[in-house]
């Protein structure tokens, strides 16, 4: 395989690279950020990468939506799209719930930084809280 | 007329029902104690009903239900079991009389809990005595540990808590870590855990495996107090004296050595073990325990502690005799079960009586006490003779058999151990008797005039002392049962 062919093969997989990048970036944000909102943002990016993982292989270049018509013969696979529609809804619900929790956490603690909140808890009940 | 099968079930359910009634009668102490005595008497009646049946050679059995396929809760009365049941139920009556006197004499708290747990412990003991397979035995063995825990920690003090931790930790720990794997392995190898004459493991394992499995079983039965798992016995001394008597003489330690004998005879089989030569190490360990515990007893000033180490030593007699695998020594082991039971309970009764009447716990305080408490110390003396192995007490008979067995199999180490330990026994019991009767009482600041302990206690300890002598002259029942166990 020549270098060019290798590059072509890699290029053909470019959606996967995007997917993997988003996945890792999202996960990293979730882990590395202490801000509760930013964590949710990371979570959103992470979930979005999965949408891509499903959708990208299902799309045929030149394919259309699978609506019965004599004019078209090449269709994209509709099933992943439908699945991801569901996944998106789930993602939205998760995000909404997460944000709602953050709002209430802020009302309860007056902070949305995880370490500050843990400190507050530890201060409130010494000895009970642990890492 | 009730059938033997019903009698078996009754021996388990009568103490259970008794416990329930005792709990219900908690507001009227006299009724409560009446129920205790009535339950104990009924239980003895049930066991006595079974005795002639077993002596005639019948082996009544009841199978309740299977927990797992091939693993059932079942009961079967065989000679060793009926003997153990007889000892336990007979001594329970005496112990109840004594307990009533002790608990009232010392104004102990939580008396209802005490009597309820006592009855439950007896139910578990009966379950152990009559179990038809190792699994049932294991179940009741664990139950007995749990039920006696509240008795050990009865006082609820920091000391009681520590004692309870050691007690539970060692007994539960050994049974879970050693006995349970052994049980599963036996079941895995042979597909059954039934106690069968001649054992169930014949030809299924090689000698090394048999030796390892035996070690798991013997150390797993922590109640037999083989060193190094003996610490729970002295730790459990924090309990009130009637409990110590129950633990050390009747239910718990006897359940331990009883289980060891049962496992050796009915699970491994004498022939299998002697063919594999798997018990030599056990003779050595038990012999070491006998001597070492006696040496510790020699140096203990606390009377109950001295008795505890004496118990550890005496229990190992039974284990060693069983491990010798000679018919004569096994008869000795069975007889010693009975002999030690009546003897040791007398000693504890005496210790409790001294505490109740004179509030003395140390050997060094006992100068001249025999003059104030002649009955108590008289009984103590007879029991001590039995422990040493002198006539006219039953300890002589059992030691005789063990010694004969050791000589017959030419285990000179065992012979030496028995000889040395007899000297040691004498060494730690005779000084007490000497102090009690022949040393003039020292009039220390803590001394106060006192007579005998409450009447109920004196009756109880006199009765068991009489039993010690009686068994010397009439050892027929235990001997017959022991021979039956060995199919002689």
């Amino acid at each position: 395989m020549t270098g060019l062919e290798k590059a072509m093969a890699l290029g053909g997989h470019f959606t996967y690279f995007i997917t993997i990048f988003l996945m890792i970036a999202g996960l990293f944000i979730v882990i590395a950020r202490g801000n509760l909102i930013k964590k949710l943002v990371g979570l959103g990016i992470f979930q979005t990468s999965v949408y891509l993982l499903y959708i990208a292989p299902a799309k045929l270049v030149g394919g259309t939506a699978p609506i019965l018509s004599d004019a078209f013969t090449v269709y994209s696979n509709p099933l992943p799209h439908v699945l991801i529609l569901t996944a998106i809804v789930v993602g939205v619900a998760t995000l909404a719930l997460g944000l709602a929790l953050v709002v209430r956490i802020r009302e309860a603690y007056d902070s949305i930084e995880e370490d500050e909140i843990l400190d507050l808890d530890a201060a409130a009940q010494p000895g009970v809280q642990e890492p | 007329m009730i059938t033997p099968e019903q009698a078996i079930l009754a021996s388990i359910t009568v103490p259970l029902a008794g416990a329930l009634l005792i709990a219900l009668a908690r507001r009227t102490p006299n009724l409560r104690e009446g129920i205790t005595l009535a339950t104990a008497t009924t239980l003895l009646a049930c066991v006595l009903l079974l005795l002639p049946v077993v002596m005639d050679g019948a082996r009544p059995a009841v199978s309740l239900f299977a927990v797992l396929p091939g693993l059932e809760i079942g009961f079967k009365v065989e000679p060793l079991g009926i003997l153990f049941a007889l000892i336990a139920s007979g001594l329970w009556i005496v112990n109840s009389l004594y307990s009533i006197g002790y608990m009232r004499g010392n104004a102990e708290a939580h008396q209802t809990r005490f009597f309820v747990c006592f009855a439950l412990a007896l139910a578990a003991t009966m379950g152990i005595a009559f179990s038809s397979n190792l699994f049932t035995l294991f179940v009741f063995y664990e139950l007995l540990t749990l039920i006696t825990y509240p008795l050990v920690t009865h006082h609820g003090t920091e000391k009681a808590r520590d004692g309870g931790r050691v007690y539970l930790g060692l007994l539960m720990g050994t049974s879970i870590v050693f006995l349970l794997p052994a049980l599963v392995f036996i079941w895995y190898v042979s597909g059954t855990t039934d106690f069968t004459s001649g054992g169930i493991l014949a030809g299924k394992l090689d000698p090394i495996e048999i030796m390892a499995l035996l070690a798991l079983c013997v150390f797993g039965i922590g109640k037999a107090a083989l060193m190094p798992f003996h610490k729970w016995l002295p730790a459990a001394m924090v309990a009130p004296t009637p409990v110590s008597a129950l633990l050390h003489a009747v239910a718990v330690v006897k359940a331990g050595v009883f289980s060891v004998v049962k496992v050796i005879v009915y699970v491994f089989g004498i022939d299998t073990l002697s063919a594999a030569g798997a018990t030599d190490w056990l003779v050595a360990v038990a012999g070491f325990t006998i001597v070492a515990a006696s040496v510790v007893a020699l140096n203990a000033d606390n009377l109950k502690r001295r008795l505890a180490y004496s118990t550890i030593s005496q229990l190992s007699y039974v284990v060693m005799a069983a491990a010798l695998l000679a018919p004569l020594s096994l008869i000795g082991a069975v007889l010693h079960l009975a002999a030690h039971a009546v003897g040791k309970i007398t000693l504890f009764f005496a210790a409790g009586a001294i505490y109740t009447a004179a509030h003395k716990t140390e050997v060094s305080q006992l100068d001249g006490i025999g003059r104030r408490m002649p009955w108590t110390m008289g009984a103590f003396t007879i029991a001590a003779l039995s422990m040493i192995g002198l006539p006219p007490a039953v300890g002589f008979v059992s030691k005789w058999y063990m010694l004969s067995g050791a000589m017959a199999t030419q285990h000179w180490w065992a012979v030496a151990v028995i000889a040395v330990s007899t000297l040691l026994n004498a060494g730690y019991f005779l000084p007490i008797i000497y102090r009690a009767f022949f040393v003039a009482p020292a009039h220390g600041p803590h001394d106060h005039p006192h007579g005998e302990a409450p009447l109920l206690m004196v009756i109880a300890l006199t009765a068991t002392a009489a039993g010690t002598v009686l068994l010397f002259f009439l050892p027929d029942v235990p001997l017959t049962l022991a021979r039956q166990m060995l199919n002689l």
Binding site: G98 | L71, G156, V177
Partner: protein, 494 residues
Amino acid sequence: MSLASHLPALQVVIPLIAAPLTVLLRRRNLAFAVVLAASWVALAIAVLLWLQVAEGGTISYAIGSWPPPWGIEYRVDRLSAFVLVLVSGIAAIVLPYSRASIEAEVPPQQHYLFYTMFALCLTGLLGITITGDAFNIFVFLEVSSLSTYVLIALGRDRRALLASYQYLIMGTIGATFIVIGIGLLYLMTGTLNLADMGRRIAMVQGTRPVLAALAFLTVGISLKLALFPLHQWLPNAYTYAPSAVTAFLAATATKVAVYVLLRFYYSVFGGSQVFEQLPMQEMLLLLALAGMFAASTVAIFQTDLKRLFAYSSVAQIGYIMLGLSFDSQSGLTATIVHLFNHGVTKGAIFMLLGGVALKMGGTSLARVQGLGQRMPWTSLGIVVCGLSLIGVPGTVGFVSKWYLLLAAFEKGQWWLVFLIVASSLLAVAYVWRFVEAAYLREPRADTAGVGEAPWSMRLPTAVLVVATLYFGLNTAFTVGSASNAAALLMGGLG
């Protein structure tokens, strides 16, 4: 009657319909009645399904009459029927209990919300168990998870909010990992039907995406089932959630996740393949052991009973996974039977602790001093369940441990036998911390006059405590079902 043939659909639909009804009714008594009825009907259906499966084998139900593998299939086999009985049974027992419990722990205007979320959570858990479609598992998983987050956040303590948030993050990551795994499997096999996937995977066996899918699924599901060291969310969530929620979750949520893992390992990948191509056996064994010892040790040093038993849950999940790592008939039987047994025991414990929290005003060890005098029955119940955690014979815990030991012997791994029993000793240690506090210390003065919890809480709790003992003595149902299910899994699709 055709209704019998629609039981698989009704199993999920009835709690699903109950959820919006509670919102429409809004009155908390009505909501309670509706969800209670739904959960009892669900239990009845689960039992009927179990009977049907025991008699006639696996049931397949095509949703919308679209035949599998094209449509979504509900599939009830011996394993799922057993888990369905567990989940719906616990729900049916916890619900009557929850009424008095949340009365004290949740603001009144949110009561109907509790019942809604409870019904949704039940729907999700039953759905996960019954569905034969990979993506459907994810959807139901999220239905149950989202409602769980809300349920946890209903807790009185403000730390419940953070616990819920942490669980949300961890749970979502786990669920997303699961979707990635499912996606990769779908790409490789072209089907979402689990049974179909199991057949087609032979063609792509050992390819890299399939192995990646295995890894993603294992990690994702392990997050959900709180396998050590992915258990971080669990102690906080269990500690700060309302008592009824903790009881329900502890008994069902992690168990259903284990079910999902079994499903994927054995029905999709085929057990042997999982254990041959990646060192799963060693890995699971190691994590299970680490969990058993680490979590038990941490449990010993807890000062709050809810937290103590939450860590104990992590340790017990170690046992469950240990059985799985043996990849043998007895090992799987141990896993499945412990799934049930631990569910019953832990459910009972957390229900008892709910009563304690209600009456004593907390569950810290310092507060429950002298519980044996204040609430003798409750504290006896905790002791009984504690003994089951230790594995004392006569309790359900013993049965599980028996099979675990048996499986270890079959593998000839003596050292493992001793590790298993040694970890029981740690259980003795943490259970005895409670026993000593409850029985050997004098009660605090500020708990004077405290009595037992109300009957509406005690009766359901008693049912579970008695079940802890009953199934320890009569194992026909539990071990019978579990060994059948294990045989089914070991034999492939069956």
